[in-house]
Point group: C2
Chain length 427, copies 2
């Protein structure tokens, strides 16, 4: 990877991707057309697009339960054990995100509160082919279940040789209610508007290509969405204590995802930087996805040399990486300096793939610098809040003047009169 | 208002607005052009659009502190008292929404947790002219402050005769850091991309016209936004116990907002329905915003007669109203039946304007049926969460096989090797 030795100010400019998000007007337009078509023509449109884009002629949109059961029953014991360990740890972590609202009766005659209610139905998009990740199904469905969501459906592009059995197995394990073999913008449209076979949901989540991401953005407001996901990122802060082989291995674990994936190393040690580059070459040599990883390292990756760890954290807060590894001595003491990051891995043992699979925290994370304002997927994404108040007339009385004053200041006479209608004898 | 007497199924069809959200391709296009122009040309573009759309030639974009102080110091005691009561109650309610993350060390050698961090900077859009509401500034800035947001800026359309003093007073009261006199899609663009004078923020909130709403939607992903707000709505569930004069007054308090505002009454009593219609006529006669309110009642409003309260709540859950009044005996007992609503007003005293101004719960609420998945504005809107984990090698060991199994199932060899790099002696 390219080694950058510049002032912090220079480095900050280079890594600031906030204004670099590409827009694709032509994609926007074709996605808008697909959404309108599905809203109009429902299943018929879905079948057309599956024929056109996936080259598959669909009879049933829904994957038969028998096919799901068969995949689950034929799942090897090693994979089943792994999935169940992940399920256990993801559940125990996300349980701590459950919130219960509150009720406040501090003032006599006044009850105020907030009620937390699960979303009624959510839809999970699962990419097709090699990008079909059973782990992502656990990461999205488990928090939804913990939130109390009654209906969780899944959409995934049809495959000529059937849906990936590991995906079907994970779906059954976490209790997905129905799986529909439809993908792309048309699948997002189906979940947003509903069709004869596919139910409308309240929220659409899950990763996807540019068409899926654009469709999610366009239906936002009609339904909720999790986030607009970009290429995967890993930022590693390392000092002399870090082991080049481990740093390199972790950078490669993100680089192998995608040629656009962004591996970033920020270190106080030029020696480490150079040793990591040597290790990268060695490890690349035997990597199956060598070509993808190399492109990511060369075109997207970089190593920044900084004066001290304070600068390293300042720079990383500007980057706001999806994954942040802190491979320094006593890493926990730096937690306070981390402002913008999706998921943080403290110490040399906390390799990023540990978080991808079994540690328990979510792996659906904000990318492209959006960790500045977005959060990892969690139970809080699957509930909505409802406020409530109840007042006695005696409690309203001392506040009535304030209300009528504010209402009339804002030119809203009927607001003031609605309050006065509670005290007819005085008017 | 029109009285509907139909089956619940028929009523549900009539009130389901989910597929009724209008789209405006021409607005989308002109907003996109404005966003691009501001991103390119910064302040210069802002000045052009202020000239073009507001007919105002701006010298300073920022409102001088002297002007703000003058408005604050000249604020009448009644209004100041009212604003401070509202501030106190809004603060005490939203304090209960503060969350602190967690740390979990249940397994030996494993630390897992979630850190809650305030957004660094947020931008508040305040409409101009008669729709400039000081109360909305309190409702958005107070939760942001409670969340710990360091920088809160405000944008509002320039006015030939200066910004509304009540707006400037409220802004100073809650500690807005800077006020910029720019409005429309160009103001949203300035907050999303930053210009020479206006800082880029992490989240844009506040109501606005179709151009503002469209701009917020288009910049979503580059920054966060609160929600896409539609016309105001009130749904009232009433039985024989309700007083027609109060029900009518509350319907009018929403109807006066906007010809598109949606006043809805669902009742078990035809007598009440008819009495409310009589009251509406009487009260309309002397209402300053009579014309707006009448249009809203006639074109958007309705009264639905249902068999029992169970049907009333079922219908309201389909509507998912922004405001829901429950004017029945022992209203609190029906809380469990409310699934979709922004803010709920229990009992005959809890008139909706009470919640608009001083009760404390937020008045920035999901509209157009989005209470199915969106929440009232709250402290949780101004923070993001960051996960973290730390593992000892001893803790990783028993989970290593599960990780490598899942990684290789997903075809991600480098993920597996990153874990194996933690146990070099074994490889």
């Amino acid at each position: 990877m390219e080694i950058l030795q510049q002032s912090l100010a220079e480095l900050k400019k280079q890594v600031d991707r906030r204004t670099q998000q590409a827009t694709h007007p032509e994609v926007e337009a074709s996605v808008a057309a697909i959404l309108a078509d599905v809203q109009q023509n429902g299943d018929a449109a879905l079948r057309q697009y599956s024929q056109k884009f996936d080259g598959v002629t669909l009879t049933d949109l829904q994957v038969p339960q028998a096919e799901i059961d068969a995949a689950y029953n034929n799942c090897g014991p090693e994979l089943m054990t792994a999935l169940k360990l992940a399920q256990r740890n993801i559940t125990s972590f996300h349980k701590k995100e459950i919130s219960y609202g509150f009720i406040d009766s501090e003032r006599p005659g006044v009850i105020r509160g907030q009620k937390v209610t699960p979303l009624a139905a959510v839809g999970l998009y699962v990419p097709g082919g090699t990008a079909a990740y059973p782990s992502t199904i656990l990461m999205s469905a488990i928090p939804a279940k913990l939130a109390g969501v009654k209906k969780i459906v899944m959409v995934t592009p049809p495959q000529k040789d059937g849906i990936n059995p590991a995906v079907l197995t994970a779906a059954k394990l976490v209790g997905i209610d129905a799986i529909y073999q439809v993908g792309g913008a048309q699948a997002v449209a189906a979940l947003a508007y509903g069709t004869e076979s596919i139910p409308q949901v309240d929220k659409i989540m899950g990763p996807g290509n540019i068409f899926v991401a654009t469709a999610k953005k366009q239906v936002f407001g009609k339904v909720s969405i999790d986030m607009i996901a970009g290429p995967s990122e890993i930022g590693i802060i390392a000092d002399d204590n870090a082991q080049p082989a481990q740093v390199a291995a972790d950078l490669l674990s993100q680089a192998e995802h995608d040629k656009l994936a962004r591996p970033m190393l920020v270190t106080t040690s030029l020696d480490l930087a150079q040793a990591v580059n040597v290790e990268l070459e060695t490890q690349l040599a035997t990597l199956p996805r060598q070509e993808i990883a190399r492109a990511s390292l060369t075109d997207q990756g970089f190593i920044a040399i900084v004066a001290d760890l304070a600068d390293a954290f300042t720079l990383m807060n500007t980057i706001a990486p999806e994954h942040l590894e802190v491979q320094v001595a006593e890493p926990m003491q730096y937690l306070a300096q981390i402002e913008n990051a999706g998921s943080v891995f403290l110490g040399s043992t906390a390799s990023e793939p540990l978080g991808d699979y079994v540690a328990g925290p979510n792996h659906i994370l904000p990318t492209s610098g959006t960790a500045r304002f977005f959060s990892p997927l969690g139970v809080y994404d699957f509930v909505k809040r409802t406020q409530f108040i109840q007042y006695s007339n005696a409690a309203l009385q001392p506040e009535a003047d304030a209300i009528t004053t504010l209402a009339r200041t804002e030119g809203l006479e009927a607001h003031a009169r609605a309050i006065e209608a509670r005290f007819p004898e005085e008017v």
